[in-house]
């Protein structure tokens, strides 16, 4: 951390014994602030339940996702099928558990891709002056005005077959969707990181590091980035939910995962032609997407309050 050498003699009284009892570590302070956001706490519980459900679900509900049973078509929820069945008599609970794993994994993986690109591009733009910065920001603005959904649809529809051949059906589409969604969502993070870097690089502590002989890379990674990370975490949280929505949208338009991989969006796509006879088929996956996205957004809001030290709650 900051080290034990005081900046000036006048700083002495602040670190006296009276202060140490009240002082808490940044992590604990953040947690204390986060706990005060009731909706964020409730959302963490909901999200934890959902994640636990899709992770251990297959052991608690060991029903095959592709077991076709024509005697049980379009059944409403019952004890043998808690979420009902689809038009082929396949159990919807099992399909939702399986699909939830994929939807959540896509969201997380795409968030990591987007945040990584965002941090790298934003950091380079924020540290360099002149034409590098100008060029990178031009590229960022260009990507921001790209028609995202059409482009997503195009790339995924056209390159699906090639990647399927390379990574297998499930893996290929997964890699493609994650890379494309991540590649089209890094811009907000990049702008945020750039703005943070621009203001932090002029601060005294960076100058001090420079005077100690820290290289440019070390200044960026060790000194500036940790101080800029708060808003980035918040943005990354929101990226998860927007990636989940993007994946569901693609699958809902029939251009995402193939039919044998029932992600939540794909379930909705299959269900939309049977709304009159089997509304439960659409309601369960729709509610699952909604709950996941809502709780992630609330958690992001709680983190925003908790990670901003200037904010008085």
């Amino acid at each position: 951390m900051a080290g034990s050498t005081l900046a000036s003699p006048s700083a002495e009284p602040v670190s006296g014994p009276a202060q140490t009892s009240a002082a808490t570590s940044p992590g604990r302070e953040t947690w204390k602030r986060f706990r005060r956001h009731k909706l964020a706490m409730a959302s963490s519980l909901v999200l934890a339940t959902l994640i636990l459900g899709v992770v251990i679900g297959p052991w608690l509900w060991p029903v095959a996702i592709n077991e076709i049973d024509f005697s049980a078509q379009l059944q409403t929820p019952s004890w043998s099928h808690p979420f009902g069945t689809d038009d082929l008599g396949q159990d919807l609970l099992a399909r939702m558990i399986y699909g939830g794993r994929i939807s959540l994994a896509v969201g997380l993986a795409a968030m990591f891709v987007a945040t990584f690109f965002g941090i790298v591009i934003g950091a380079i733009a924020g540290m360099s002056r002149g034409y590098v910065d100008n060029f990178l920001m031009w590229v960022t603005d260009l990507f921001l005005s790209l028609p995202q959904l059409p482009l997503l649809l195009l790339v995924i529809y056209f390159f699906r077959e090639q990647l399927k051949a390379m990574f297998g059906v499930e893996g290929g589409v997964f890699v493609l969707i994650v890379v494309v969604i991540g590649g089209l969502k890094w811009m907000p993070v990049a702008r945020l990181v750039r703005a943070q870097f621009m203001s932090l690089r002029e601060k005294e502590f960076v100058e001090a590091a420079k005077a100690h002989g820290a290289t440019k890379l070390r200044q960026m990674v060790h000194h500036i980035l940790p101080n800029a990370i708060g808003p980035v975490i918040v943005a990354a949280t929101i990226e998860v939910s927007s990636a989940i929505i993007a994946e569901s949208t693609l699958s809902f338009l029939g251009l995402g995962f193939p039919p044998d991989i029932p992600t939540w969006g794909r379930l909705l796509f299959d269900a939309k032609d049977h709304l009159d006879s089997a509304p439960h088929w659409a309601l369960f996956p729709g509610a699952a997407i909604f709950l996941t996205v809502l709780s992630i957004n609330f958690i992001g809001d709680g983190l925003r309050d908790a990670l901003d030290p200037r904010r008085v709650i």
Partner: protein
């Protein structure tokens, strides 16, 4: 002002060129073309297929094809739709008005909800109204448009049978009946898109108003005895709207993305559903043209936002 507009247009041009180059490269790298189906058709000999490909110039290098596309497009020749057998520009002109009508109405609806709610919530921060509005806004933008669309169809078309769930551009009725039928079929898609946008705009408006509400000039306005209504509407709102304009413009790609989904759910014959059909049919000229139109619309709205910005904020000079 005129010089500024010209310069702003000149800045927008390289962006449009960049966007079109990216789109064209993606399309050109994609496997499969409109003639791939002929490969499985035994009635078309391979030589004919090759001759057709050559006549459409599909065997040339990407840059050559891009430049040819660009020069044709600038001259008004947008290509020929392989699937619909008419010129692409006519096909798009048929579809654009419907999309603009739905998107435009939904934006108006969104602003009609977001402005009053956001301003009222910000003038009473942390009150019950503010908390309820804030929570509802969160719920609103966490509800994906495809799910709200299905929910509305389920409630209002299947259960209540109030509105039709298929949008028709060739209504048989005339006169007042036509307007009534139009209203009935357009209300659900407009509501879906409008509510979704209203949710995010409400949060923008609220935080923008909160930013200016504590500034000194507002206190001055109150101190000289102006009524609370005048202070809120003339002093606070006008200044708070400035950042909102930018944020609304930045939302445009998302708005048109949402339009694609809504058009698909309610089977609205707009450019969004045209794009999906074209992708499924491998109809390259149409895909290129539609995505480019989307990009142009986004750039155009950013331009409008910049101009509005200057109009709302006299501190910004155009020189």
């Amino acid at each position: 002002m005129g010089a500024y507009l010209l310069r702003r247009l000149l800045i927008a041009l390289p962006s449009l060129l960049g966007i079109s180059l990216i789109l064209f490269t993606v399309l050109a790298m994609a496997p499969g073309d409109p003639f791939s189906e002929m490969a499985t058709n035994p009635n078309v000999p391979p030589e004919v297929r090759e001759a057709l490909r050559a006549s459409f110039g599909l065997n040339d290098p990407i840059m050559v094809r891009y430049l040819r596309w660009l020069s044709n497009m600038v001259q008004g020749d947008w290509g020929f739709s392989f699937a619909s057998r008419i010129n692409v520009d006519r096909l798009i002109l048929q579809r654009v008005p419907t999309t603009l009508f739905v998107v435009g109405s939904s934006q108006i609806l969104a602003l009609c909800i977001a402005l009053p709610v956001g301003i009222y919530a910000a003038t009473r921060p942390y009150s019950i109204f503010d908390q309820v509005a804030n929570t509802l806004a969160f719920v609103g933008f966490s509800l994906p448009t495809f799910f709200t669309g299905l929910l509305l169809i389920l409630i209002f078309s299947v259960w209540l049978d109030w509105f039709p769930f298929v949008y028709r551009s060739d209504l048989a009725a005339t006169g007042w009946r036509w307007y009534w039928e139009m209203f009935r079929q357009a209300i659900m898609p407009i509501t879906v898109l409008g509510l979704f946008q209203a949710a995010s705009y409400t949060r923008y408006v609220r935080s923008a108003v909160l930013d200016v509400i504590r500034l000194d000039y507002v206190t001055t306005a109150r101190a000289k005895g102006l009524g609370e209504k005048t202070v809120t509407l003339r002093h606070i709102t006008r200044n708070a709207l400035i950042p909102v304009v930018t944020l609304v413009a930045l939302q445009m790609p998302a708005v048109f993305g949402g339009a694609i989904v809504t058009e698909q759910i309610f089977r609205i014959p707009g450019i969004g559903s045209l794009l999906i059909d074209a992708i499924l049919a491998n109809d390259t000229p149409v895909i290129m043209a539609v995505t480019f139109v989307f990009a142009c619309l986004v750039v155009l709205f950013n331009l409008i936002a910049d101009i509005l910005y200057g109009w709302l904020d006299p501190r910004i000079s155009f020189s």
